[in-house]
Amino acid sequence: MSLSGAKIIQPLCIRYPDMPVISDQAANCNTTSTPFLGSTRTLRRIQSVSAAQRRPASAIVAVADVVKEKKLKSNKNHLLTKEEGLEVYEDMILGRVFEDMCAQMYYRGKMFGFVHLYNGQEAVSSGFIKLLKKEDSVVSTYRDHVHALSKGVPARAVMSELFGKTTGCCRGQGGSMHMFSAEHNVLGGFAFIGEGIPVATGAAFTSKYKREVLKEADCDHVTLAFFGDGTANNGQFFECLNMAALWKLPIVFVVENNLWAIGMSHLRATSDPEIWKKGPAFGMPGVHVDGMDVLKVREVAQEAIGRARRGEGPTLVECETYRFRGHSLADPDELRDPAEKARYAARDPITALKKYLIESKLASEAELKAIEKKIDEVVEDAVEFANESPVPSRSQLLENVFADPKGFGIGPDGRYRCEDPKFTQGTAQV
């Protein structure tokens, strides 16, 4: 599988008719394509394209990376092992069932505020995050429940956090949009789009710094930054593409292009909707992949993460995906065409993976059903746990503002306020 840095940038209307495109999932290759991107564009491979075939250099050719070529074996049955398949399946089911349960709980009033659900995009989360080590970091946006779950944060902790209970992963202080876990290296959870990208770049910078300055020779931690199509128009995104490529940071920029930012279609908001092209403009490979197909995502992820781990620098991966629900639970979702929704619903990543596992005899119906049942129980248990957990006590209001609470200053008696044992019991007036 090749990830080419030498993507040729062309105006949108021109396709790549001469490029051999190899599809490995016959079933998902229906080319019901919209004018934009084609809903079903499969993973691009550029195999040894001779100079003659290549379009003349009227366009900018990106910084040449070695075009990696790997002959695709007859791989229909060997894209992943049984254990991997079941792991990924379980993760995707967990994401789906959890988010559905969130919707239920929201409408029952247990959850409140802004809740953004991830239904339909599970392939991206499971495809990427399941390849990471515990020390690798993930930075996300407000649509972060499933990223946290995939990275290993227990479902109980996430559900309690959403209920605002003190047993949540952030003790109820963060909420739906601010999932943090130091143990699992989930660095948030940011409400502002684009805000997480520089933070992720910083985490990648740390990895490089540790290796080169602090001489921790084996530090090869990779960071993944997840964000959406709307963010790809934001200034911070470009600033970080530049710096990450400049300093060859071990980061993968993952665009979850679900075509819609609340009610603003990606096509109405972007001058050139093909986001992957922004990678080569900054000197890194840009890849477009079908985000409804977890196996394809996983393959691309493997290559991109491998690149970062080896120190070859960042990659921009655009996953074309879709969210089955509205932008948030407060969004009536009226602007999207029902036909479009139906088309994508037919490409549900979970159904696709299930079909693949069964057809390639990697798993049986019974095993998959057992997994689904297990996940149902896990999520039910999480809800029960969250229900029974206590709300934060009054004294928690003032806690954790500072790591060094002397930051609250000096009280009227001349001593530091935090030294007063009754400090956190008081009101919020400090």
Binding site: Q173, V199, F402, I410
Partner: protein, 377 residues
């Protein structure tokens, strides 16, 4: 430490006003040999103080690194980071492209993982491009993550007006950053402040906004032997009484401390003994010291260069009214920059910021008033 002693003791020799580019008068006989032993003998510019503080902290802890525009090969836009690139290499003194939002966020992200970045903004006006990261991903993170992720980062750079740099380069951000919970905001005045507070800021586990002043960089102040020690730190959140007095309390920070001290000299000739407090820390604000002082003098005058509405003086006034209302003999006087974007013309600019005469005039107003209604300044 010596600074704190001065606060309590307030010996006469130590409190003569700091010179503006001129050396202060000494009461002791001057012989070069003796100068090395007396505690007030060595002088250091604020620039050197900051440079030496950065140097020592970087040497002591390999996690500390500096990032910003022109900090490396150019030796720093204001030469604060001079020599650091040669000493520590380009991985630890990182020149960035012009991307405040980007590199401030990168600093925050690396601080999440335990590094200790010192992010330089060429002036704090440019921090507005990165303010989302200072506030939303740095200040609030310890709280949002319930203590799991703290952010030991320092954002530093010159703040406030310089000389003739125009409206977009002259704003003071003390009040803006001072209102955000989760941040610590420091405003050094002298070289000792600069050294002690910067070292404390770098060692602090929380995000610190360190507001310097461009016009103070070149000024020399005496530094004690303690201040030159590499483990010298000043406590965050404690103000310093630069000059003791009994008739009126004047609070100031950064460059205005120098003006206030000069004004105090002038007032002394007119029989008004002014107590000058160098705030040193906007957040947390040392309300205790301010209130103790006001209870002693019964009058308060706050001085700042920033815009008047919602400024630091407004907060101090409210705090004093809440805690020490009964002790006030006159309404609190508030001197701030004019409520206009900074003009360019030299004479207009002079009118747009507090000058020593303004401080003197306001202090006299506070002293001759006795409870009648305030006319707007």
């Amino acid at each position: 430490m010596w600074g704190i002693l001065r606060q309590k003791v307030g010996g006469a020799t130590c409190l003569s006003p700091q010179g503006v580019g001129s050396h202060m008068l000494r009461l002791r006989p001057v012989t070069s040999a003796l100068r090395n032993y007396s505690s007030a003998a060595k002088e250091m510019t604020v620039r050197d103080a900051l440079n030496s503080a950065l140097d020592e902290e970087m040497a002591a802890d390999p996690n500390v690194f500096v990032m910003g525009e022109e900090v490396g090969e150019y030796q720093g836009a204001y030469k604060i980071t001079k020599g650091l690139l040669d000493k520590y290499g380009p991985e630890r003194v990182v020149d960035t492209p012009i991307t405040e939002a980007g590199f401030a966020g990168i600093g925050v992200g690396s601080a999440y993982h335990g590094l200790r970045p010192v992010i330089e903004f060429m002036t704090f006006n440019f921090s507005m491009q990165a303010i989302d990261h200072i506030i939303n991903s740095a200040a609030k993170s310890n709280y949002m993550s319930a203590g799991q992720i703290n952010v030991p980062i320092v954002f530093r750079g010159p703040n406030g007006p310089a000389a003739g740099v125009g409206a977009q380069h002259s704003q003071c951000y003390a009040a803006w950053y001072g209102s955000v919970p989760g941040l610590k905001v420091l405003v050094p005045y002298s070289s000792e402040d600069a050294r002690g507070l910067l070292k404390a800021a770098i060692r602090d586990p929380d995000p610190v906004v360190f507001l310097e002043n461009e016009l103070l960089y070149g000024e020399s102040f005496p530094v004690s032997a303690e201040a030159l020690d590499s483990s010298f730190c000043l406590p965050i959140g404690k103000a310093k009484i630069e000059r003791e007095g009994k008739d009126i309390t004047i609070t100031a920070f950064s460059k205005m401390v120098g003006y206030a001290l000069k004004a105090a000299e002038i007032l002394k000739k007119e029989g008004i003994s002014a107590e000058v407090i160098n705030l040193r820390s906007i957040r947390p604000l040392d309300r205790a010291t301010i209130n103790v002082s006001v209870r002693k003098t019964n009058r308060l005058l706050t001085v700042e260069e920033g815009f008047p509405q919602h400024g630091v003086g407004a907060e101090i006034c409210a705090s004093v009214v809440e805690d020490s209302f009964g002790y006030l003999d006159a309404p609190v006087e508030r001197i701030a920059g004019a409520d206009v974007p900074t003009p360019y013309a030299a004479n207009l600019e002079r009118m747009a910021f507090p000058q020593i005469e303004d401080i003197v005039r306001a202090a006299k107003r506070a002293c001759y008033r006795s409870g009648t209604m305030v006319a707007t300044a």
